[in-house]
């Protein structure tokens, strides 16, 4: 047999999913990219006539604000998830296997419920006649407080939705740090805080970065949660794209929004990977 002529073995492993991605992701995305430089026509949706107007209009205050808000909310959600998720991940990683299994199960339950159902749960709790406001009224409040359709509500909903994506990678990273390292640090004179900052935190950094990237990406492209919990007041890019496609029939406009959103996410992901990759290279030194 001619060894050189055989297909490299990795093609067998990567090939099927690669083909799937090519057909259902790369090609449609290329189509979107193409659409984003086509001219919008109120009657024919898009005309094959190249233009940059779709991008130029994104500099308008409305769109700039929209992107900044999306970016800001996503960063806040990432921060909230990191602050709430890290201690949880540490606790689970250092628990007995029984508690860990139970914890993982509870953590993943929200993912088993459809986003729409979960958000309606929030509506019941946060609505003007919702549980919180009823409770406040029982305590003597005259008027109901606006909880829904605020940035807080969107952050709350997105943080809950994305929490497992933060906790799981951090937990996996902490599990790989042997408890004897913590003890060694304590033995060398570190109190708990110093031990944490000097050993656990740097050693779990890859997990924290992966978790943050996942949470950030999911939040940036979120649609259902901000649409239902933020309404018109707290609009994010996903909802804008949806409306431009289905309500305004401005497909080229929606396409340009999609491209800019994707590029923005890619830039952040690359920055994070570059920063941690550099760190990892420094540590392992070849």
């Amino acid at each position: 047999m001619e060894r050189g002529r055989r297909a490299p073995y990795w093609a067998l492993f990567v090939g099927p999913y690669g083909a799937y991605l090519l057909v259902f992701l790369v090609l449609p995305f290329a189509n979107v990219a193409l659409l984003s430089v086509y001219l919008h026509s109120p009657t024919k949706i898009a005309v094959a006539e190249f233009t940059v107007t779709n991008y130029a209009k994104l500099w308008e205050v409305y769109y700039a604000t929209l992107f900044l808000r999306t970016l800001r909310l996503s960063l806040v959600v990432t921060l909230v998830c990191a602050l709430l998720g890290y201690p949880l991940a540490y606790f689970l990683a250092r628990s007995t296997s029984r508690i860990m299994t139970l914890g993982l199960f509870l953590l993943i339950i929200p993912l088993l419920v459809s986003t729409v159902i979960r958000v309606f749960g929030w509506l019941v709790i946060l609505g003007s006649e919702g549980l919180v406001n009823q409770g406040l009224r029982l305590l003597g409040a005259r008027e109901s407080v606006r909880l829904l359709y605020t940035e807080g509500a969107v952050i709350l909903g997105l943080a809950q939705q994305t929490m497992p994506f933060m906790v799981l990678p951090i937990m996996a990273a902490i599990e790989r740090v042997p408890p004897s390292l913590e003890e060694a640090a304590r033995n060398l004179g570190a109190n708990w805080g110093q031990m944490f900052v000097r050993t656990i935190l740097p050693l779990s950094m890859p997990g924290l970065v992966s978790g943050s990237l996942l949470v950030f990406s999911v939040s940036m492209s979120a649609f259902v949660t901000p649409a239902l919990m933020g309404g018109r007041r707290v609009r994010m890019v996903g909802q804008q794209i949806y409306e431009e496609v289905l309500t305004a029939y401005d497909w080229p406009g929606a396409a340009s929004l999609t491209i800019v959103l994707s590029v923005l996410m890619l830039v952040f992901v690359c920055l994070a990977l570059w920063a941690t990759g550099r760190r990892a290279r420094l540590e392992t030194a070849r």
Binding site: P178, S180, L181, E183, A184, A185, R186, N187, L188, G189, A190, N191, Q194, M195, R198, T199, P202, L203, E283, T284, A285
Partner: protein
Amino acid sequence: MAGTKVELEVRGLTKRYSPQVTVGPLSFEVMEGEFFSLLGPSGCGKTTTLRCIAGFEELSEGSILLGGQRLDGRPPHRRDVGLVFQTYALFPHLTVFDNIAFGLRLRKVSKAEIERRVGQMLELVDLPNLAERYPAQLSGGQQQRVAIARSLVLEPSLLLFDEPLSNLDLKLRIQMRYELRDLQKRLGKTAVYVTHDQTEALALSDRIAVLSQGRIEQIGTPSEIYESPASAFVADFIGSSNLLKACVRGDGGDADTAMETEHGLVLTIPRVADVSGATVMLLLRPERFQMAAAGDGDKIVANRFTARVRDVTYLGEDLHLRVLALERQPLLVSIKNSKGTRAIVPGAAIDLAIDPEDIHVLRR
């Protein structure tokens, strides 16, 4: 050598995990500069004891004193006790230099002073050129040295070792054993060493505490532990041994007592008090048997008997024999390899003798 001042005092240390699983109460003292080992099979409580001293386990009862100061109740980072881990527990994200400097930085030692002391430590453990390496780039033996240097640089009053050599291969283990012993003597550090390896404990220690099921069986120097074990457990755990159940057969006179094993081998031992009629255990170390050649027939009279060789294990320096004395009593015998031992083959009959002084009576 070990001083006369008590450095570490463990009083009635008890750790209860559950009513069934309890360690202690254990009490022992370690002198200043002494190398003290806790030796026992896994689950005997030796590691628990060490972790109690380091502060990673809380005592259920008892107290620990270091240099006269109560240690128990203090958090692990304020104990002035250095612990060397079985797995080394080096920080993988820090260089050798930063690993050793870890404790000094926490103590806010000046940069120049850190440079000096870490450099000194690297010289001491013979790794001067590896300061910028990461732990993953070091061999097991080198990692072990870094772990020791990391503890030593803080000049703790007490060094604790948790089976530090058990992850090394045999040759390196023996080399590190010498180095460790050397280092400890040179620095005069008090050390508590946990191991399940009896040869290691014998080779390294000034004194050994043999533990079994959460209790101390015996504390003594290596030769005391080996030569006159306090119990059948100690005899069996330290070295290989023949433990024979025997009862007093008759008084051979003022000087000797005759004992008969359950398989009918009669052995003379130095006179022992208050054993008449009692069943006791006799300990015969395999290497204490002598081959009696035909020529020296008259010189050895006591405890001489014929034995049938069942099998021979050739170990180079030594031959390990399993024999049947008087065709009845199974014995383990270790003989130095020499010209005369060539005739020893399975099935051969040999003459064996053992000095009465080499037979020990164990009361429990």
